[in-house]
Amino acid sequence: MHSASSNERNFASTPQPTDASAHIELREVSFGYTPERQILSGVNLTVPRGKLVAVMGGSGCGKTTILRLLCGQHVASSGQVLVEGKDVAHMSRDELFAHRRKLGMLFQFGALFTDMSVFENIAFPMREHTDLPEAVIRDLVLLKLNAVGLRGAAQLRPSELSGGMARRVALARTIALDPSLVLYDEPFAGLDPISLSVVGQMIRKLNDALGMTSILVTHDIAESLKIVDYIYFISEGRVVAEGDVESIKASTDPFVKQFVNGEPDGPVRFHYPAVALEEAFR
């Protein structure tokens, strides 16, 4: 299925270094905490402006690491991580801060500040980065909360929210400063089906309404197929498959099939590497 589709949404079949519309581009990126254990090895990935792209793969395959590279918390050991054509690794401190100000990130479990109310959580980035008067901040916060349907919960503490509500509050905080790029780290983890669907729809709507570029790191294939434009599959630190929703659904690639259908054994082995059974019980 690789790069064969003529679908107009298939924009990233071959990484184009000079692609003007590319918001995010990873070129041959490798990363490892230690040289012996590489988490990413030679990842190529392109995300055009205004698109919603999912990065999928099993647990611990290096998906979250890609997000950390994008927001400059980690530096790639080789290759380039380009945001609007600029390598994150070579940004000055000021440039990095400017980059982060235009970036929103939704953390796995929301990462709401536990010592602040919902209102203060969303007001936090505004207060820290702008000199807006209190009245304007109040209106903006209520608007953001309204967008996620939680205007009534403004005065609650994060500990009083259900998992789904907390995720929506975190979403509102993520978009508080109208970022041009939003990164979602496992936004569906631990949610009930209704909350999951609500959050999924919200991510799609925000992406379209605010014209943001979104990268969604998840292993929830069913929900992703409903909302995203394009999907990358990552396994053992490299991109093993990619394509738009239709081509993924129609794919005959064994890895994609195993992942989409949730088969226990396939290219991803059920058994952790071990000596043969006959050997072990001899």
């Binding site: 990095l96 990130m105 479990f109 990462a111 536990t114």
Partner: protein, 268 residues
């Protein structure tokens, strides 16, 4: 050979422990400078600092008040037992005041502060790290050291000397209650002898300097352990324990060093 290998292992483990200790000390020192560099916002926005002083200082007030009062009362009772043998019960004011101002005030208030406020700081920062709140701030282009760590550190530095002074004051009052009101020593002698014997510079100021040094040490240990904690539930609880243990050892060791330098006059 096996025996030699065991001895080598033993020395190696000492070496590893030493190297780890030095590495952590280096990290803590660099962390201290990072805090100092990031302290601008703390003092530009006193609201952050006031909130943390509330948590570190005000919430430690009750335990410090109670402990101070009781320790002063016990000092007076025990001191009386000894002093009465030499017919020197008038010196009780001196005994109580000097013990508290020079030693017990800074040290016991420091230990109480480490276990009440220091452990809370570690747990709070460790929990924020575990739940990715610190990472979230970082991604929002807000320095977590400036926003979370520095206010807590300075709140500790400000709170502990005040708590130590309150502790000493309550202790002296406790000694007064037991010595004068209960046992019946002359009140004039209690205060008068104290005032003659206690020097505001050599005794009171040195006690305050001690408490300031302890405040820096305990606050740094508390925020460092929190920031450095392994981001898991076990990691945070281990870090909290380490804060209390390390702080206690640091206070007692620093106390010895400071006492040697400050009160050398009494030794030679």
């Amino acid at each position: 050979m096996n025996f030699l290998a065991k001895i080598a292992d033993w020395f190696r483990s000492i070496g590893t422990a030493t190297r780890n200790g030095i590495t952590r000390l280096g990290f803590a020192t660099r962390f201290f400078w990072a805090i100092v560099r990031a302290s601008g916002p703390t003092f530009m926005r006193p609201r952050l600092l006031i909130r943390e002083i509330y948590h570190a200082g005000v919430l430690s007030l009750v335990i410090v008040l109670m402990s101070g009062l009781f320790i002063g009362m016990v000092l007076a009772l025990q001191g009386y037992e000894t002093l009465v043998r030499f017919g020197a019960t008038e010196a009780m004011g001196v005994l109580v005041a000097l013990s508290l101002v020079r030693e017990l005030g800074p040290v016991v208030a420091g230990l109480l502060f480490a276990s009440r406020a220091g452990s809370a700081m570690t747990a709070e920062i460790g929990l924020m790290k575990t739940t990715e709140q610190l990472a979230a701030m970082d991604v929002m282009a807000i320095d977590p050291v400036a926003r979370v760590v520095a206010p807590r550190f300075w709140a500790g530095v400000i709170s502990l000397p005040l708590l130590a002074a309150i502790f000493s004051m309550l202790g002296i009052y406790g000694g007064f209650l037991v010595g004068v009101k209960l046992i019946g020593i002359d009140g004039g002698a209690f205060w008068g002898q104290m005032q003659v014997a206690v020097d505001w510079r050599n005794d009171v100021m040195n006690g305050v300097i001690k408490s300031v040094v302890f405040a820096f040490a305990v606050s740094l240990i508390a925020v460092f352990e929190g920031y450095d904690a392994t981001p898991t539930a076990e990691g945070v609880s281990a870090a909290t324990t380490r804060t209390v243990v390390t702080s206690a050892l640091a206070i007692l060791a620093l106390d010895f060093v400071l006492t040697v330098f400050m009160f050398r006059g009494g030794v030679n």
